[in-house]
């Protein structure tokens, strides 16, 4: 199981990094812009009269603050997920009293001998 998980991580890395290595599609004005932004630009290009009728109540004042908040979002999620898996891993190992007792007995026997 552990080996499969390592392969899964490796495959994820390959799929994520490959676009950076492969040649870019031709006719690209700017590489690796966001798809959401591209859709917004396509709307404005096809409907020059459209005026957004509402604007965000608050916007991150700079790209740095924005990346801070994105990093915070990922950190909160990863932190909780890691806490959960760590907790359950600890429980699943502690939750085997027979195995613990067997190991203690074996140690005691080894010490006595």
């Amino acid at each position: 199981m552990r080996r499969i998980n390592l392969w899964l991580v490796a495959a994820v890395l390959v799929v994520a990094v490959l676009p950076l290595i492969l040649p870019l599609p031709r006719g690209l004005a700017e590489p690796f812009t966001g798809a959401d932004g591209q859709a917004q630009a396509a709307i404005t290009a096809a409907n020059p009269d459209y005026q957004p009728w509402f604007s965000p109540l608050w916007e991150p004042p700079s790209g740095e603050i924005e990346s801070l908040l994105f990093a915070l979002q990922a950190a909160l999620g990863a932190g909780l997920l890691g806490y959960y898996l760590g907790l359950r891993r600890g429980e699943s190992q502690r939750g085997r009293p027979d195995a613990d007792r067997a190991r203690r007995d074996a140690l005691a026997v080894a010490a006595r001998d």
Partner: protein
């Protein structure tokens, strides 16, 4: 898949909000039921939300030369059924709308519908061997989200010449093609987390009567 603030005409924004509302109510009731009937699985439910939090924060490059992000909503739908994800996904989208100016309050209904409803509900229809089922369910939920976003935009902004279908091709080209490698990534990561759950968290899965091939 985030439709930016103010970028859906008021009628469309309201209609998608109304369409999402019953799913949100149903989702809130599912969350209450899960926490009452399976108190042990509460932390797993929060972790499914956390998974969506992480994945939707990661902008990943794609072979089309643009960037997009996975949704992370398949995992929770596989474990708890799709309805809880309406609530968990809405929390993620609200965080991004308020703090990141990513998506928006007026487009929240439409974004909830694509990411937290359409994607997760598709998961129900899949079965088969566990890893493959999980991979396909999570990956297809991810793709479906972006197809729904493209449809929403094509309905709101049909092409003056080629109409709805022309606009759908245009927005689909921006979203769906870019999303294919990301859907693969989301599928692989979801299989990874399910593997870890089977390894370390058997009790929680048993509590939820989760078994290979069970379709929720």
């Amino acid at each position: 898949m985030h439709i930016m603030e103010g970028f859906l005409p008021p009628v469309h924004a309201a209609a998608w909000g109304l369409a999402s509302l019953p799913f949100l109510v149903m989702g809130a009731r599912s969350v209450t039921r899960v926490t009452r009937e399976h108190p042990r699985a509460k932390l797993l439910l929060a972790s499914a939300g956390a998974f969506a939090f992480v994945l939707s924060a990661l902008k990943i490059p794609s072979v089309t030369g643009s960037c997009s992000h996975p949704t992370g909503t398949g995992l929770g739908a596989i474990l708890f059924g799709p309805s809880v994800m309406a609530v968990l996904g809405a929390i993620v989208l609200l965080f991004q709308a308020l703090l990141l100016a990513h998506g928006g309050l007026t487009t929240l209904g439409a974004n909830i519908f694509s990411m937290a409803i359409a994607g997760p509900w598709l998961v129900r229809t899949l079965g088969g061997p566990l890893s493959l089922a999980v991979f396909l369910a999570a990956g297809l939920a991810d793709l479906a989200t972006y197809l729904v976003t493209a449809t929403q935009l094509a309905l709101a902004f049909p092409d003056p010449v080629s109409g709805f279908l022309g606009a759908l091709t245009k927005f689909g080209g921006i979203f769906a093609l870019t999303q294919v490698p990301l859907a693969v990534i989301e599928g692989l990561l979801t299989v990874l987390v399910v593997n870890l759950l089977i390894q370390y968290s058997r009790d929680d899965l048993d509590e939820l009567a989760f078994a290979p091939g069970v379709v929720r």
